[in-house]
Amino acid sequence: MKRSSSPLLPREDAREAALFFVVCALCFLAALSGLVARSAYAAADSWTDRVTGQITVRVRGTDAQTQSAVEMAMTTQGIISARALTREESVDLLRPWLGAAGVPDDLPLPHLIAAEAAPGAGQAGAALGEKLTAAGIDATVDDHVVWSADVKRATDSAGLVALIAVGLLGATAVAVIAFATHATLLARRDIVELLHLTGAKDGFISGLFERRFLMLGVQAGAVGALLALGAAAFILFVVKQSDQRVWLLPQLSLSLADGLILGLAPLVAGVAAMVAAKVTVLRSLSEMV
């Protein structure tokens, strides 16, 4: 006669369903915070990469002086390219602020030079500024160092805040799981006592709960991580729809690092649940003879 053996612990009940929801929500928030933290750092890198080495020269003078300034830039140590922007390019830069009507033909525009410094040539902008002053050309050299440092500081702070949020959410998840495990154990005390009196070793009894809560944590964490992936994908979709200047926005690219964060969430949830279950069960068993 073929008989099946039910698990020694009853299948999940309402308490575990509630715990599943809580762990799922916490993992969703933790994974999303992790993605935000990583994207904040990525955005900071992207912004600084974009502006590092870019030098903008605004010349208040004639076309000839502008051309001289370009030639001076090309001969400045550390600068690898320089060119004067055409009027059309300058108009394009102003279009977002002046609207579709564009720039009136008779509006005088500053002469702009876009130059690029070699990596590591941090003083090239200052050197060019000195050369232009010495040559009597009225110009302003902007190598974006000041504001890019401010942006980097701001994004680093945002990333740190997100990391702290991840840490807090993780700690909250562990505390909630421990609390829920204890509540579940109280409800299962009859089983624990019976197994204990039947001669089951502490590790055997603890193992039943550890496996149960490991699976619960992993499954709830996986659902939470998938929801976070969906939310991230939605944000990415919205960002992509905006316009070409997506590099100004956090880089939700769903890269390998993002995948790692999403993959880690269920594992961390599962291990946290398992450890919480083990500690709680063993503590409870230690109160028995």
Partner: protein, 242 residues
């Protein structure tokens, strides 16, 4: 055959001046001493609240005495490590007064529980468990869950679970409290068979004096926190068989 060197000359169960209290003026048992020789069958009687269940709990290692010593097979259980205590518990079959069946398991699975805990494979024990359940009259209730069983049926499942591992000691708390006389006789017969054939030490707490008289076994009486060995009293005229 299980190693039982330590049991040859030692009592299976021994209480040396055992007391249990839950506070300064809350003694449940006071200075109790008793010995059960291996292979004996003993009934523990006494008025309700005398501490019979407490005494049994200490014998099946669910409680530690406040003072005194509880020994099983000559081993002072107070000195055992947790793993050794767990191994010792595997040698004890317990019939709890409140049955303690697991609601999510079937009658078959409840009886097989100790075997699963011991790590036995179902292939090995399946037929034994089915046979045992048939013997206690539950052959047609193998897949029934406790919620669908009557009190008497639950009690029989609990007894089957206690004896399925062929323990060295069986401790039963009111094992026939919820069964009719015929089933009571069958269960008593089961305990006696285990006692005689397997030399199992049996300790039964009961109010059922008719069962005690039928068993013709030793009888201890617990009253006022003290245990005394007493002769089995004769049946009152209204209890005597027709």
């Amino acid at each position: 055959m299980r190693e039982r060197d330590e049991t040859l000359d030692e009592p299976a169960v021994r209480f040396d001046r055992v007391s249990l209290s839950y506070g300064p003026d809350a003694d449940v048992l006071a200075d109790v001493s008793l010995q059960l020789r291996p292979g004996s069958m003993t009934f523990l009687t006494g008025p309700s609240g005398a501490g019979k269940s407490t005494l049994l709990k200490m014998a099946y290692l669910a409680l530690k005495p406040s003072t005194g010593r509880v020994s099983l097979f000559g081993i002072d259980t107070g000195k055992l490590t947790r793993p050794t205590l767990a191994r010792m518990r595997k040698r004890i079959g317990v019939v709890f007064q409140e049955f303690r069946l697991l609601d999510h398991l079937t009658a078959y699975e409840n009886v097989a529980l100790p075997l699963r805990v011991h790590g036995d494979s179902e292939k090995r024990y399946r037929d034994d468990v089915v046979e045992l359940l048939k013997w206690v009259g539950l052959g047609d209730r193998l897949d029934a869950r406790p919620a669908t069983l009557s009190g008497g049926e639950k009690q029989r499942v609990a007894i089957a679970r206690a004896v399925v591992v062929k323990p060295d000691i069986i401790i039963a708390d009111e094992p026939t409290g919820n069964v009719d006389e015929e089933m009571g006789d069958r269960l008593l017969h089961l305990f006696r068979e285990l006692n005689r054939r397997l030399n199992t030490t049996v300790l039964i707490a009961t109010h059922d004096m008719a069962m005690v008289r039928k068993a013709k076994a030793d009888m201890l009486r617990l009253a006022d926190g003290m245990v005394v060995r007493v002769a089995i009293p004769p049946a009152a005229p209204e209890e005597a068989p027709a």
